[in-house]
Symmetry: C2
Subunit: 201 residues, 2 copies
């Protein structure tokens, strides 16, 4: 059951939402080629958060699929992937982009980045992240080739496709519509767009 | 040039060493099947540390090879892998083991773990880690199969084989001889052993 209409994650920006245990959030790739960096923090104790390095151990795979439950840095369930019609390609290997990433890519001056977007998103709730955990990079396509090499490829997702994540505990979920416009993380057009989310249940 | 004889990393325990820029540390797999979780923190600012999720982006691979430079969470060079006669299999995907890992594996009571070993090792220098970064798990064999599935396998390294890491900045390097004895991280015998390190140059 939807509790409201889709909320925009503005292009190049972040936002956050509180979920109660059992609620779900649907993350919609509105235009189809937009990566959404996603974090989850336990409500009331932000020092416990969804951890990619702990989730890979728990899942026995690097890309979560439907039915998989991501765990925290204390190995407790936090988000379960319950639906995915996006093609099933997401990333758990790459850090959130940050100002140093864009400096290395040759950008001069300030460039929007997912690390700052996380801070801004939590600040709107009066909170601050204890660190920048490695995100669950929804729709991001970083294949591991021959068991070692990683490549940056455009998303395989299509306009309107989505994933749904169920909260296993009360938590704060933050999103960043990745502002990467130098390499084709967000498609070959190098054009970051808005995405949407919808709280269900 | 060696500046001393090999120092023991006791079985199931951690230790740390300060390196000046340009010094190297050789990490020796004394008995051949021992995983050594390895961290590096910038001396004087422990909030900057070697990051696996940033290093994978920088390297374009998940397993560093000779000549590869690991970077920090600010994407600055910190350690370069300059020698490796261990077979070249290391892990950057799995979190350090911790008390929750052993609880989930059915252990009752306290079990030694790499997360606590990092804290103990830094405490001996009067320091505390700001968090437990995902470690560079030297000699650990976690293949990515078909681009997604990960498996825990025994190390491919042999007794006396080693890797050498050169400090690109003044840093503190911490090691934990992983106490994992439930799954075959440290070989099919499930018997954690000591390892050694030697500071060079």
């Amino acid at each position: 059951m939807s509790t409201g209409s889709p909320v925009e994650i503005p292009a190049r920006r972040g936002t956050a939402v509180r979920l109660r245990q059992g609620q779900s959030v649907r993350v919609i790739n509105t235009h189809g080629q937009q990566v959404v960096d996603t974090w989850a923090f336990r409500d009331g104790d932000l020092g416990e958060f969804m951890s990619m390095e702990h989730s890979r151990v728990a899942l026995g795979r690097i890309i979560p699929g439907v039915g998989d439950t991501m765990v925290t840095n204390r190995r407790q369930p936090i988000l379960t992937l319950t639906e995915d019609n996006s093609g099933g390609i997401h990333d758990t290997l790459f850090a959130a982009c940050d100002r140093w990433r864009y400096e290395l890519l040759g950008c001069t001056g300030y460039h929007d980045n997912c690390t700052d977007n996380l801070s801004t998103a939590l600040a709107e709730l009066g909170l601050a992240p204890p660190e920048t955990p490695a995100p669950l990079n929804l729709f991001m396509n970083i294949p591991v080739i021959d068991g070692n090499r990683v490549e940056i490829r455009p998303p395989v997702s299509t306009a309107g496709s989505y994933v749904t994540l169920r909260a296993e505990v009360d938590c704060i979920v933050a999103f960043s519509a990745c502002p990467q416009d130098v390499v084709p993380i967000n498609g070959l057009a190098l054009r970051p767009t808005e995405a949407h989310f919808e709280v269900l249940g």
